[in-house]
Symmetry: C2
Subunit: 211 residues, 2 copies
DNA sequence: GTCGGAAACGGACCATGGTCCGCTTCTATT
DNA sequence: AATAGAAGCGGACCATGGTCCGTTTCCGAC
């Protein structure tokens, strides 16, 4: 293939867009169908065969696109996750920038807890390919770490961030809320308490003058 | 042999022991075979068919005994878990009774972290039927809660206990140690730091070190 | 010992996730 | 427009977890 050098440079700048038209169309088809089926039946009831049939493609195509069932679920989660990240990065306070760090951190926990619980079935179905594999979890950890730094917490921040996020993972939350029947509010209050202990500000907000 | 009425009452008091001889034998057979196969091939490579064949029983028997693959793995974990519980309840300090609460708590974390990592594959394979379903997880939580009480920590102790245990769960640990390549010692130190913050007894932080 | 019923057994059978490979469709090039 | 080669497609095929049910085995009662 004798190719114009310019053509070869473009992809370097443009990067990672080589997807054929039919492939893109099928992805849309599959994603839409999958979302609909999840909404209808719940994530657990969605089989790859049924999805392929409903989207009008072959089963092989489904796996080609998403690699595995987990990958498909992760892809579905992707929308939600992006939205969440956007809310954290540039949404309104207190989740977004503008509020004091501790408030942001508490808002982050609240938001994370609720969305996690909301999409628990999907997240569980996504398994390893899910939040952890994608940037999802690491983004949250990074952000918590950032907030901890702003709060002038010292110690091993990456670990501390993960430790704060760990009780907000699906298995823990489902155990507490669905099995033990604890009210969400209580779990959330418990988490806020944990955060305050870690941050070292037992009570209310510090006197004005921070940052 | 004889029609002693007491025999009929016994099960009520004795409770939950009616297992036929062949059933018991097959359970042993299966458990042994499973342990051997896990040791040989790793938990992920053990299929229910192969296990049944190796134990010389029918596949149906395997499922009758253990309910599911996860149940089988949980059964294998059971030994380890019992041993751990025994060590906590009546083993030597600092894990067992005799040491001051904070030391016990730190020892518990250490021990838990290492055993969890050691049996990670099995635990993962056990899934929902695993630690969480059996008394395993709840025992640990209960004990942590107990230690926190001894330390006169106040707050929502059940939640705090779970929050402390959460970063020691398999997915978190595997991410940190296996994927991120953090040394176990560091993770452990991070956990100890977390504990001290929660307990409210700040570490003897070396001024030039992590501070 | 033998009998009756309950419990356990075993393996054929099913459902579903995942792979494979020959065929089709797209797209860059001329 | 024609073409060649890559990318994608589809569905038969495989592996494995899990179920079902007719048959066998155990055990307490006579």
């Amino acid at each position: 293939m004798t190719t114009d050098p310019a053509r070869r440079l473009l992809p370097l700048a443009d990067q990672a867009a080589p997807e054929r038209a039919d492939a893109a169309r099928n992805r849309e088809l599959l994603l839409d169908a999958a979302a609909a089926m999840v909404a209808d039946l719940g994530a657990d009831e969605v089989t790859m065969d049924a999805l392929a049939a409903r989207a009008g493609v072959g089963k092989g195509t489904v796996f080609r696109r998403f690699g595995s069932r987990g990958g498909l679920m992760a892809a579905l989660l992707d929308h939600t996750e992006r939205a969440w990240q956007a809310a954290v990065i540039s949404g309104p306070p207190p989740l977004g920038p503008g509020a004091p760090p501790l408030e942001r951190l508490l808002a982050l926990g609240d938001s994370r807890l609720r969305t996690t619980l909301q999409h628990a079935a999907l997240i569980r179905a996504a398994g390893a390919e899910g939040a952890r594999a994608s940037g999802a979890h690491s983004f949250a950890a990074l952000h918590v770490r950032h907030l901890l730094a702003q709060l002038e917490v010292d110690g091993d921040l990456p670990l501390l961030a993960v430790a704060l996020l760990a009780p907000l993972e699906v298995p823990v939350l489902e155990q507490q809320v669905r099995l033990d029947g604890l009210p969400v509010e209580r779990v959330l209050a418990g988490w806020a308490d944990l955060v305050r202990r870690v941050v070292g500000r037992p009570a209310v907000t510090p006197p004005g003058g921070a940052t």
